[in-house]
Chain length 376, copies 2
């Protein structure tokens, strides 16, 4: 392998395959793939939906690779936006995954390539105390199935045995699962670093699977629609009681937050706003545009927006964020928040320049959101 | 999708892709893949090395798939041996991964298809108390890198706060990583079930990465050779002290076991037998054949086999296991144990009829080995 100008093996590569993607200092990514018999090989960025402008930090459209005389196909992208970008190999017209890189996602796996952001390291593992991420299994009577939650406990959890902690329910997006916020989002390192710097309070972060299919029911595929009632029931009636029974939590609404990205942000709206006896801090990361019927200031979520004073009393933080490159989401969010402001509903909106519907936006969302929690 | 005779979606499938493999009641597996432009599509079982007869429970050689008029390729294998079998798709001569199934492995990912064994459920999740699996990060001065261990804590760990537990270091095989014993082997469910039945003592099971590359050093690829000294140092001087400092262990040799599969079994031999002040129970799961120089009763492992009385005093359990279908391994193990017996070295050998160099052998090995631990 010959890569010029200081390109280095991407952090998401499996360590010693022959042809993992290489990231150049300027953010260009070189992909290679050996396929002597193939007629056409492409790299396809896994794009978002039309409403967020189909944008992926690697680009919008598939890249055609060029074959050399040995059957090694190569392409170098233009400089990519920083972050973890999902891609497929397309071999003779079919999407497949590279065996040389990690694949992610709960539904249809896709490979990932991590493009670093110069000078940004808040999501890297550092020489600070580290919390644990604990796999916790529990049985759901609602779905008649075992579930696995990933539960982050802060670094001092096992030492301060009388200490109790607030709880933050953090949900992934469509097609992902309970592993995503750790394996792709690096949520545990972000919270470790925030706690070490004194910027966030020690907290328990609960990452559960954002699907609740009953036997024979399909998974949820339309991330902008309301979650099925089973998802709300699992979250409020099963997950949270299990966490309160298993971990040393402060089990009241003032010490519970919920946030989610994309599909998870819609769940946060529906589950959070209709269960304000359970939650008092809400984070809406990159919410996909909802229809006028779904997001209606006068009627949605049990009419919670109609009494601004009561809302302010109950919701300690109503945080929204989006990347400027996920244009459909960014524009819809700004429009909806303007409507809410007219109704007297206060919120925080944070925009992330140049990032899209991808993990870099959500890592930055978490980094901004978590320090604001549990301040009363 | 039309599958006759009660075929069901394999447990390893991602839940709702169009063409995941289906497992028939008799163990046959039907694979489908949509690739209208491809000239040839195959399913290739990921085979072992020649010394274990190149056998995979799906078969030895690639299966050619047949194309229908819509470009959907299909093949049904003969009845497979039960277990989790690794496979690649081969599209026009290149190995790739299916986006419809989970992929596993630390080095080159491969997809997996789980073929159930009728009447066998010791590795399934059951309605018993469940331990946690905790991701624990620690810094290695030896390798100058952060490492992640998966640590199983038994179901009563957080409730019985004065209780201390024995420690079992459980290592994966070549090309795998710290996730493998949980995600593929289901070690946590196996130990949960054994503890619930009163067959095994509550214990802490430590699953660390079986590689210790220093900066710039490649990973270990020849599973039958001795581990590099760094791997021993990380295990004995860093991992075990970290575990003893972090968890409520009984930190002495009488309460420590080590076992591993394939490459991990060789590590168990080298690390365990040269550190008998640290370990007293050893498990050798499917050890690949070693050369006469590497496995030499008179000389290997510091001559530990030359004093049978001292060996018996120190090694409370010297357990070996292999599947009868991994013939090279099975035969080499029996031959080497016969040599050891001549030298007066006592061991336990358990064979698993019909299973090969695959997870079903190692799940059964763990299920037999763990109940024998910490009985003094």
């Amino acid at each position: 392998m010959h890569v010029q100008d200081g390109a280095s093996s991407a952090a998401s590569n499996l360590q010693d395959e022959k042809y993992p993607p290489h990231v150049h200092l300027d953010g260009r990514v070189t992909f290679r793939f050996k396929a002597p018999m193939a007629q056409r090989v492409q790299i396809e960025p896994v794009n978002g939906q039309p409403e967020n402008n189909g944008y992926n930090g690697l680009g919008k459209a598939p890249y055609d690779m060029t074959r050399d005389e040995h059957g090694l196909w190569t392409v170098t992208t233009p400089p990519a936006v920083p972050g973890l970008h999902a891609y497929w190999l397309v071999v003779d017209g079919v999407r497949v995954n590279d065996t040389a890189t990690k694949s992610y996602g709960g539904r249809a796996k896709a490979c990932g390539v991590e493009v670093p952001e110069p000078g940004v390291d808040f999501y890297d593992i550092k020489d600070v105390p580290h919390g644990q991420v604990r796999m916790q299994w529990y049985y759901s009577k609602v779905t008649e199935a075992w579930r696995r939650a990933f539960v982050y406990t802060p670094p001092d959890y096992d030492d301060n045995r009388e200490q109790r902690y607030p709880v933050f329910i953090l949900r992934h997006g469509g097609g992902e699962d309970e592993t995503s916020w750790v394996e792709q989002g690096r949520a545990n390192f972000i919270v470790d670093n925030l706690i070490a710097e004194g910027k966030a309070k020690p907290m328990i972060v609960v990452m559960d699977w954002g699907q609740a299919p009953t036997p024979g029911q399909p998974l949820l595929h339309i991330p902008s629609t309301p979650p099925p009632p089973e998802m709300t029931q699992v979250t409020v009636k099963e997950l949270i009681p299990m966490v309160d029974a298993t971990f040393r939590t402060i089990p009241d609404r003032e010490h519970r937050a919920m946030a989610g990205l994309s599909m998870g942000s819609v769940q946060t709206l529906y589950i959070g706003l209709t269960n304000l006896d359970t939650f008092s801090y809400l984070g809406i990361f990159s919410r996909r545009p909802m229809s006028a019927a779904e997001f209606n200031v006068a009627q949605s979520f049990g009419g919670v927006f109609t009494d601004a004073a009561a809302f302010k009393q109950q919701v300690r933080l109503f945080w929204w964020g989006a990347g400027t490159a996920e244009e459909g989401i960014y524009n819809a969010t700004k429009a909806d928040l303007a409507e809410l402001a007219k109704a007297g509903i206060e919120s925080v909106f944070v925009e992330f320049p140049g990032t899209s519907h991808e993990w870099q936006t959500w890592r930055k969302s978490l980094y901004d959101f978590a320090p604001r929690l549990f301040r009363r």
